[in-house]
Amino acid sequence: MNTAALLGSYHPENALAWQNGQPISYSRFLSEVAGLADRLPDMPTVINLADDRYRFLVGFAAALVRGQTTLLPPSRAPRALAQIARACGSSYCLADGLETVEGIPAFQIPVGGWSAAPNPKVPQIPLDHPAVVAFTSGSTGSPRPNPKTWGSLVSIARSTGVRLGLKASDHTTVVATVPHQHMYGLEASIMLPLQHGMAFHVGRPLFPEDVRVALAEVPSPRILVTTPLHIMACVTARTPLPQVEFILSATAPLSVSSAKQAEALFHTSVYEVYGFTEAGSLATRRTVAGETWHVLDGIALRPESNRYFLQAPYLPEPIPFPDLVSLQGPHRFVLYGRGTDLVNIGGHRGSLGDLNHKLSEIEGVQDGTFFLPDDTGTSITRLTAFVVAPGKSAKQILSALREVIDPVFLPRPLHVVPTLPRNETGKLTREALLGLLQELHKEERHGI
């Protein structure tokens, strides 16, 4: 059986995680994983809700050792979690707080409490084991499962680390502002450290000052794994960040001017990683060096009819690109747009088709659509929604939506209207919706 080790390199006394300024060693980690693996319920799939990055990892690794699969839901909305649990059959939930998932058993990840095993062994995990299933919202209303084998996670972590020049001997520490339950967070803040002998900070800093404090709590050399939103917040606040070897950004495009400012202000380099849930991370670039993305080793891009497909040894079949790209050779490409169904709000990607479907399923809603207005440049542009729902208020519909979609996609505002401006074929054009929006603004101004 082909396997890959849980850890790319193992130095028992090295720090794997930093919690409240204290190191947690690799050997303690292996002991805790072995201890938890013995106690996990005998069920095939698990939703791991742990907020603490280290405790998430202990749960994730223990599940791997037991041959279980960790499910990564598309959002933390209660109904979305319950839907995933139902769809996957026999599942349980792991948590480090009070959060649970409706309808399935909950299990707490204990804090410590095990005597260290004398010589804990580094577990070997079969390459073809489905380590995680990452769910995307799909465009039809039901979440789409994207299984990831352990082999694919390891391959991507290794090739990303090589590209970024990470060496186990440097023992670099990651501070990440992104959640570990999403693919980018899992790859960059969990798999990268595991496979390159690195360490990570257990927290998830939000505000610029949080980022500064988290970086100061861990030893140098360090890297910051984050998003354009957090980078711009730190740039705007001119936060005096401790020295970082580089900043890694993903989830939304970073502008060259933002990257230049960040590089100058923080005396570092800014790299971006590009990927999508179906394929995982697949390319990188240094933002200030230009718009060309360089695919990771082992990945190739193939044109087929009028689309581009991605091939990699760990992908069972070629995967179509969701974004519009132009090839500059088999290993380089430029992005020039998004598919029309996709929206990106502050780094969270969603499908308009899926959001519309969820809206239409709300009781009392007869017709409705989400709409992304033009960017005004003042703050993050949010979605608008137009809803036909006689007898229902905007507040009632928003409450129902909150149960089923990620809060960043909640419409601001939600307009309850008598009808939608559908054309004779039943389509809603962008022009018609912009017209409706203008009408509504006019009415507001006239106090109607």
Binding site: D51, R204, L206, F207, P208, D210, A233, P413
Partner: protein, 87 residues
């Protein structure tokens, strides 16, 4: 500055910064800013933290992005600003 004047000022700042389609006087001082109240999220918190740092010289910190006690309500936010402001 009196507490209520600061509340009026910060309510205006919230509406302007986040481009909310409401009057600042509609924000109740004890109403939750997140979730079922005003419906803000962590992206808003990040945007607000920047204008608060620019306007009042207060660098907001949190230990857990999901439960930002400072942002519980307009009143708690103003209490924090009042205690920590440097301008």
């Amino acid at each position: 500055m009196s507490a209520s004047r600061l509340e009026t000022e910060v309510a205006q700042l919230i509406v302007q910064t986040l481009n909310l389609k409401i009057e600042s006087s509609q924000i109740q001082p004890e109403q939750p800013l997140f979730g079922d109240g005003l419906g803000l999220d962590s992206i808003d918190a990040l945007e607000l933290s920047l204008v608060i740092s620019q306007s009042y010289g207060y660098q907001i910190r949190s230990d857990n992005p999901e439960t930002v006690a400072t942002f519980a309500s307009l009143r708690s936010l103003c209490n924090s600003i009042g205690k920590n402001r440097t301008k």
